[in-house]
């Protein structure tokens, strides 16, 4: 059984699950190890000790370039993308009260994808690639806004949100395919890589931009943490205990779009992380948003880092998009947890 202690200092009080903290610490250590492993592996294989030496005292210029400029930003971007998608999925699963909810199911991903493909087909020739993240984010925001407004009927209900989300998502995917069919082959290729989700060729400005955006959202997450669990009650029950259900649902939806939209903007439409990482996290730590969110973030980060590691090392000299391997890595682990729980 989990060990729970109470903290009270003046006007501040919390229940703290020590077992959760312990597991989070373990997951954090694992994340650092995966990061170190990813820094070591590639076309040039280094030992983890060498990597640490290079990071702290750069002597060999070419090795420094490989580790600090080629591998590190890409790994950090992968971790941030995975973390943001997972936390977004965890929030969505709570407010939609559906274990299948994720940014992919609710039209966030398909909105971003449609906008990104539109941009790649019609605007990238004149504007270049720099505004692609912005376009994708706008697409995610617009799609979600449309879904929210269409679902509104004296307030929104989780069921209407998910059904309309699936519908809008299907239409946007059709539109994306339609545009792709009519675009030149070079665009189709780059769009396809984007749609699979890839952190290929990332340099420091990208993870730094994503990191600062996510840091901006963090205070909101901390503020809204206690509202996530009560969203899982029925609307009537939640309102009965004093929750302002509609406002908080809209607020949490906004936060999850901000998280997933940004992740997709910089990492492409990586599917499945936002679905599976929250479920893995829920099986590793006790209910409670704070603990599960941090765990989901770490699981998601590891999942995308490992997927990218596989994509860029296993098929050398090819460098395959990370999105291909997320499901391959995530599903077996999830099934293992489910089977272990059954016995």
């Amino acid at each position: 059984m989990d060990k729970v202690v109470t903290w009270r200092r003046g006007g501040y009080s919390r229940r703290v699950n020590l077992s959760t903290w312990l597991r989070l610490a373990a997951a954090l250590v694992l994340t650092v190890l995966v990061m170190l492993g990813s820094l070591s592996l590639g076309k040039v294989i280094l030992s983890p000790l060498e990597v640490i030496r290079i990071l702290f005292s750069s002597q060999d210029a070419s090795l420094t370039l490989i580790v600090e400029q080629l591998r590190f930003p890409r790994i950090v971007l992968a971790a941030l993308v995975g973390a943001a998608l997972s936390v977004s999925g965890l929030i969505l699963q709570s407010i939609i009260r559906n274990p299948l909810a994720s940014p992919d199911l609710l039209g966030i991903t398909s909105g971003a994808s449609a906008a990104a493909v539109l941009y790649l087909s019609f605007l990238s020739a004149t504007l270049g690639q720099q505004f692609l993240p912005l376009a994708a984010m706008l697409g995610a925001a617009l799609a979600t806004l449309a879904i929210y407004l269409l679902a509104w009927k004296q307030g929104t209900s989780p069921l209407r949100l998910v059904l309309i989300g699936v519908g809008v998502s299907a239409m946007l995917t059709a539109a994306t395919t339609f545009i792709l069919v009519f675009s030149p082959l070079t665009t189709t290729l780059s769009a396809y890589v984007w749609l699979t989700g890839s952190v290929y060729g990332a340099s420091w400005p990208e993870p730094l931009a994503l990191a600062s955006w996510l840091l901006g959202i963090c205070p909101l997450l901390v503020l809204l943490a206690r509202q996530v669990m009560v969203q899982q009650l029925d609307d009537n029950l939640a309102q009965g205990i004093g929750v302002r259900v509609q406002w908080l649902r809209a607020g949490l939806l906004l936060v999850s779009v901000a998280l997933a939209g940004a992740a997709i903007a910089w990492g492409g439409a990586i599917a499945f992380v936002g679905l599976i990482a929250p479920h893995i996290a829920k099986r590793l730590v006790a209910p409670g948003f704070a603990g599960q969110a941090v765990m989901a973030a770490l699981i998601g980060a590891n999942l995308v880092m490992l997927a990218d590691l596989v994509g860029r090392t296993l098929f050398l000299p090819l460098d395959l998009p990370a999105g291909i391997f997320v499901a391959v890595l995530g599903t077996p682990f999830f099934l293992y947890l489910l089977i272990k729980q059954r016995h």
């Binding site: 059984m1 109470t6 903290w7 009270r8 006007g11 501040y12 009080s13 919390r14 229940r15 709570s94 009260r97 274990p99 503020l223 206690r226 669990m229 009560v230 899982q232 009650l233 029925d234 009537n236 029950l237 309102q239 009965g240 205990i241 004093g242 929750v243 302002r244 829920k282 006790a286 209910p287 409670g288």
Partner: protein, 263 residues
Amino acid sequence: MTSIASRGLTLSYQRQVIIDALDMQLPKGKISVLIGSNGCGKSTLLKSFARLLKPQQGSVILNGVDIQKKSTAAVARELAILPQTPTAPEGITVRQLVALGRYPYQSWMQQWSAEDETMVNRALTQTSLQALADRPVDALSGGQRQRAWIAMTLAQDTGIVLLDEPTTFLDLAHQIEVLDLLRDLNRLENKTIIMVLHDLNLACRYADHMVAVHERTAFAQGRPEDVLTQALVKTVFDLNCRIIPDPFFGTPMCIPFGRELPQ
């Protein structure tokens, strides 16, 4: 003394009027039971008492003040509601569920005060759930789960508790257990209990005050002895029956006739 009253209360879904210009008063510190046929609007009425439904016209008066003028949290400190077949957040323990009842007293800073802890432990004791407190809610039996939900409303520390068919899906023994628990809370803690029940005999046994909802209004109200008559059952439920005094408790007992009439 009145706990909840309605003045000219009109409730509707879309265009359909469910309750029409209802004036009603429910006594404080008593057990009131709403009865009526399926779809007569008794659950809708209960919802409006908890401010879950905005009246088309008229108002609900909670402890002397129009409920629409109170904030959601303020209502939640005066009145708790347990809807039909509630669902619990995935994987949470009984103690966590009961602690959710403390929501209207908590803030971002204060999420587990000494009072929260006392009230949660009290609610667990009152519902005899201490031994099961750290079990997941999903692992409980039907009767235990219903007690856990009632414990959550108790942790809310309100003078009034509304329950929508709290005995559905329970076997007879557990129905009695839940109703006994509610009566204890009424007698010992002086809580006002307002609930919807389907079983007329149990309703008569446990109610101090009974309201038959029919034709968009409170068709009859008062002591169960005065409300539950043969004529009322015929009108409200379209059912032939005999009402006899319960041989052990003296409260009205309804013997329904089907197509087969007694010899």
